[in-house]
Symmetry: C4
Subunit: 502 residues, 4 copies
């Protein structure tokens, strides 16, 4: 401790005093007007020490803010390292470099379309892509390796076609359903996605409010930008929330999280099982974000030598296995679901293990590239369960690639209880805030009502496998590489030519 401060005294630290601690031997940083000694924490930082050292002796608030929940320092840094308030007037302001890309972005924000011009979920994505910070867009929009699975998630729905029934009375259409006993307006929930503040300064609570308005469930992410309690507190009335859980190596930590969630009223525990190690997303790495680091995708150039896995092993346990399931069942009364199951064998095993549900998911294409889409796995799973008469023993959800109400209908026809939707609401929130989320959900409801009518179903229980044609679903077709010489000599047909102008 130096001469003029500690975290109990009233006298504020000066910027100069902090600036002296700017090396890995003594590293202080300022966050929200308070100084912290993170020297000992450096090697443990999931995002690597490099990114902290960039701000050693300086104000790190702007970088810290979007990717750490506000209770992070309280939780992970011993009180003795909390050095107290800093007189921010004494902190040297770093002059921002002129950034032509940021300038362009600001111009795009000025001309962004009004909300009413968004007619579908893709439209929010198109706007978000133009108005979000490049690094935030890269983080949200990226996937594993060649992003084949990420795109397949969406594309798989294109292989499923409808066999609608006509002359069904569809004057009244009711597409409400229940999920884990909760009555919801429409069979989707807001699935867990990390780092909401990258897209909107308020973070995940915006989604909470949108979910409330449309009476759907929100799944709270472990890696939220807001703290868990902030998100819980943002819920109103009987609003139902679930918890997505990354299991910590230290099971005591995990137990605390689970018990706290149950106490705060969470109605479902979704254990992520597809991320023993968090995936590499090269688009994200290539964006500036990799310079900045994040607490999610550890590594970056420098830390690669140690392996990304090591960097995050402190908070995600790669040793998690079926053996742990009984323990989970013992510590909570919340229904337990496994999020990230990817083949029928594991669904059967999940049922045998006594869990209450599974989410057939590949983590939005962010983990294993060439993992199959949730909808394809669903089409594999349900016939086997039906053969065994097990189709009602658990609730089955899928996520990934849902963009249209027709996608939801396809999933429900094939046996899903509902679908999780993640990125589209992030994009709506990033572009337009709560009104964006509201409109996105309303558009889905409008589409849902119309398409239920058009397929000839007046309620969710009318949806069944005979309404869909899935013959094209299971084939992963890659066409023969193009014969470029042949293409080059072919003159495509063209329509009638205009007359020359007079």
């Amino acid at each position: 401790m130096n001469r003029d401060s500690n975290n109990t005294q009233s006298k504020k630290l000066t910027g100069e005093a902090v600036a002296e601690h700017s090396s890995k031997d003594s590293c202080w940083v300022i966050v929200h007007g308070r100084a912290y000694d993170v020297t000992e924490f450096l090697p443990e930082h999931p995002g690597g020490s490099k990114i902290i050292l960039k701000y050693a002796g300086k104000d790190a608030t702007e970088e810290f803010e979007p990717i750490h929940p506000p209770d992070t320092l309280d939780k992970y840094l011993d009180k003795s390292k909390h050095l107290g308030e800093v007189d921010m007037n004494t902190v040297e302001q770093e002059e921002k470099e002129f950034d032509p890309e940021e300038e362009e972005r600001q111009k795009r924000i000025e001309t962004m379309p009004i909300l009413e011009q968004c007619y579908n979920l893709m439209d929010f994505e198109a706007v978000a892509r133009r108005v979000m910070k490049k690094t935030a867009w890269a983080y949200y929009s990226s996937g594993a390796d060649d992003e084949i699975t990420m795109r397949e998630n969406h594309s798989a729905y294109h292989k499923i076609w409808f066999r609608p029934r006509v002359l069904v009375d569809v004057e009244k259409v009711d597409f409400s359903t229940t999920m884990l006993g909760t009555k919801v307006d429409i069979p989707f929930y807001v699935t867990a996605t990390a780092l909401g503040k990258l897209g909107n300064p308020e973070g995940e609570v915006v989604l909470t409010r949108g979910a409330k308005k449309h009476n759907v469930v929100q799944m709270i992410p472990t890696l939220a930008s807001c703290s868990f309690d902030e998100i819980i507190d943002a819920a109103e009335g009987e609003q139902v929330q679930w918890l997505q859980l990354y299991v910590n190596k230290d099971r005591a930590v995990t137990k605390r999280i689970v018990e706290h969630a149950e106490k705060r009223g969470c109605k479902g525990l979704f254990i992520t099982v597809d991320a023993p190690q968090l995936g590499r997303r090269e688009k994200d790495m290539r964006s500036k974000f990799s310079d900045v680091g994040s607490n999610v995708q550890g590594g970056g150039d420098v830390d690669r030598s140690q392996g990304a896995a090591r960097a995050i092993s402190s908070f995600i346990d790669p040793a998690l296995s079926w053996k742990d399931i009984p323990w989970f069942l013992s510590i909570t009364k919340m229904p337990i679901l496994l999020k990230g199951v990817q083949c029928v064998e594991d669904v059967i095993r999940a049922i045998e293990a006594g869990v209450h549900g599974v989410v057939l998911s590949n983590h939005g294409g962010r983990q294993l590239d060439f993992a199959r889409s949730g909808i394809e796995v669903l089409a594999e799973v349900m016939p086997v369960l039906r053969e065994r008469g097990w189709q009602d023993r658990i609730e089955i959800y899928i996520d990934g690639g849902v963009r249209r109400a027709t996608d939801i209908i396809k999933a429900v026809c094939l046996g899903a209880k509902g679908v999780g939707i993640g990125r589209p609401f992030l994009y709506a929130m990033s572009a337009y805030g709560l009104p964006g989320v509201d409109r996105a959900m309303q558009l889905l409801k409008d589409e849902m009502e119309m398409n239920m009518r058009l397929i000839g179903a007046s309620k969710i229980s009318d949806l069944n496998p005979t309404l869909v044609d899935t013959r094209g679903l299971n084939m992963h077709t890659a066409v023969v590489p193009e014969d470029t010489l042949g293409r080059n000599v072919y003159d495509p047909l063209i329509g009638p030519k205009e007359k020359a102008k007079l």
Copy 2:
């Protein structure tokens, strides 16, 4: 009623007098030189009140004209609201804003190709796309959601290939056939399409004349721009017409329509069953047309909150069901066909219900996206019917995506009595009027004659399933998303390089 007019008096209203009624509390509009008080009608307008209010107190003729049959005001507005003639000299002319897009279009019209340069149905579409008003083009050319079904309708024919027979005497080729007992020159009919005046000021009667010239049947749309009687009156001699029917919630209205049609000589009643709610077409919404509104696609930004369905429920009954069929059979002697059947189960049910035919159709891809093409459904239906020996119990038609005589031949080979063609004739009419429609039909006949010869069939009854190879038809293939990194590093082969110039 105000001081200076009513609809029986001789004195004309002034523009100023009308202009005073320019709010939703008192809303008058001028159409074709007559004023109407539409204040009470505002909330009932299928296209929303907003679009009417835009013309409150003004002359609305130009907007009204293409999207309402001339008898609309008589039919839907009480006589007491008909305020009588307006002295048009006293109506302030709105100065048209300079519209650079319209200017461009006028230039394109000046250089449009001559009719003889159109060699196939696609050519008319290519011309129409350039010379039609943007909003009209958007209305005609748009489809549901991602327009996947709309395009699949055409694409599906590409999966069917021929197995022609050679050394058949095809000197004389006769491709006339009968449809519902009517002898026609070629197995297509002009199917019902809405709002013909958007493309051509004369509207649907142009198609009536074209159909007469080529001896094919015209199906009259409920939502025509011309009135039903105008279209009937445009028919000559023994010319046969059918009626496409949207069923009104008020069955008395429907009954009147049906009885009137029968009385006027219609020879077939095609009840639309694929539109309990009219589809959302985003391309159309995005075009200026959504500003203007239409009586077809209710909603638009403002009315979305109430749901598009409500907006149109006054004239299309979403409760229509199989239970209504006996009633229809009881009120008319016209053969009844269900237009929009989409799977074999419903074809069987239709036969059991005693109707005279079905149209396997997805409404030109304008209703449910991912509905299958008519030709694919046909290939599903016929083998089942043949197995039951039911193939001759009804007449089966298909529509959607037909552009070539080979498409017609494929449909007939697979068991269709004929095909409906809609948009192509609209485009021909929009670009070139009646001569366009005439040439489009003649081109189909020329293609038909040639291709009948080339497949080795001298008459319609020669066409049978062994002449087609449909193995590729049922597979909805979406290829694995492209590996962009791989593509980017590949240098396509190129042909020999030119010598440098001397």
Copy 3:
């Protein structure tokens, strides 16, 4: 003949005298310095009267030349209409309009690649496309309707893959074979293609010389630019030629042609059975060529009203049928083959009819669009024949789309005796004359030698169906139409970025 004479008289006609006959009532034309009265012939001209009238009273040589064999006028115009020589000095020279397209083409010819830069058959096509007259290119390169079959012909080979055998002694590779008893160097023949002079002023005799050099058979087309006898005369030594025959309605004419061919030494008669009516090729029609007309694709805008079929019925008989086959067998000892058979049923019928072979062909994709490729039909035919033990009862050839020796090998593996190659040699001839044809054939031989080695076959009889994998062949796949909104929001992955320049 002295300076001022005609073929009975000594005095030459003057240009002015000819120019007086410039209407359909009296129509004279000059060809190669001689005048002809074609008034009565006008309605019979296969290419329509319009094109002749364009030259009424004028010198038509330039237009006449490439599309009529030199003996045309002798054959089709009564001697009494041959008016004798014209003093060409008295004929007014038409000034050629400046043609910027032609100018561009001349520039391209100056910089055309040297022959040695052509490494494969596609390369000749790439060069020909740039240096040929636009109308000639359009005539050669066009196909029926949407040209789907034309391109499928080539594309179908891409669905067949090899299962090579290794460790086979392939030091000596012999890919000679026999066709109809003739020993040839390699299993291809030069198939019949019309109007050779469009590409090269010497016409089909260039192909004759190329075929001689490489010891392959040439099939002489009915619609050659050179006369039949010129082509026969161009053959050397024991060189074998076949005749492709369009059957005339007047069987006496046909008989004369066949007997003459046999007498002149033709060793095979290939009766075209896929062209009861010649196909419409829109690309060709759209090019200027349609103005000029041809004796092949009758019609054009004006004559369409009468139907293209009528226009050509004088020389192709659409009534030709299986009943005619015995007559053909009776009038010649040449082996008879049916060119254009397209399904296994007709192959069986051909065998039963006693012909000596068939060519599985769709006329280079110029007749019926969506006809299957020859190679696909071959894969359908051979297993059925083998099941019956009929595989050796006839010789089976295919044509269409062959561009590589691997294509030839695939065809022979599947059971073809050989393949016909047409357009590629036309392109080679059009771009480079005989040396082009020579090099094209040599390249095929080089490829053949290499690929025989690489597949592990040292002679033609080693080629068999186990060497190919045809599982992908029969599926006519069209992928689900693209989701453009989805594509538009996806950022493709990109490789590492360059550093900024210093």
Copy 4:
């Protein structure tokens, strides 16, 4: 011998003296400061005499260097033709022509990305493509004919998808394995590729060092730029190397090579069986490289007449056959593997012949176009072997198209012992030298660790066929050619439009 030199004298030759021998009658060349009389060797040069004559009487070092191992002249040219040192000061320097392409390349080298920006194997290729000499890039990157197989090798992996298992303890992941008894870190080896010095002046020894660092095996190519002994000498400690062998017609030569390799410690002999004749690679021919020639792809324009096969037959024996296998087994104790086997029949034959393994390979797509990918052949082979219980009788490797650790995992799941990787390391070496190779291998290890975890496998033996879905693998799909008229008239959907700028 002329007046002033021979190869034992101390006096140096002058440039002028050498320059006198500049014709095919007397042809001397200088290489690395020494003169050689190659007159008699001219007709035997595998790359043709033309390329040597280009340097007759001159210094050929720069061209000779990258494509000949340093011991070439000693091996292939009789000592009597070694004329001794040349006084290089007396040799006229040829002025280099200004080469704008080379200038551009130098600029690209200045701005090339730093190594850390390469995140995957494709990235090295992207960089190499920009910074390599055009001819070198063309040689490495080219494939046979239309390069369909070359691209299919990569694309085939896209048809295989994962069926991962979750809740497996993957804290510790060990993906080491053994290959021919050698323990390696990861199941890939550096496969043999020719002419390493084209990409890097040090040549193949760079790969040796990379392989050492990552404990994987290097396969030494017959056609290396470095001499065999140089490559062996570059190995350190117990580092294991294999030999790839082209079998010489002169078996004594082959025997010497094999015995020498065994003596120098090679642990495996991979006999190339897919190259009885080296393939034509047109991209390579088209690049300037064809001017320069190479000892690999004989021929070029001039020598084509004699056939490329003849040109190389001196060192690759096209007569090699199964009969030779016992002899190979008799001359060495090294395990013998056949590289280039391409169907299950030949794998069975290989087992029966007693060899120790096969590489399912198509030579990187450089030999027979339309040969199937190694991974597809593997999927054909293993079920047959398992049915016979033969799956452990040999080791099966595959190569071609591997770019991701997921590709390696797929291959191992399907039964491969490991995969060969060639071009990617060449590209890494060409762009960045040894650090590039090091990073490329490290990236594969990182990907491997992560993806083993994500698929739920903690060791190589956990990988099995139930983890992959290969249903799409065997279908060689080519889609129906595009309907260009239809595409041209379709307006793709677009997202919301921006507001106009103020």
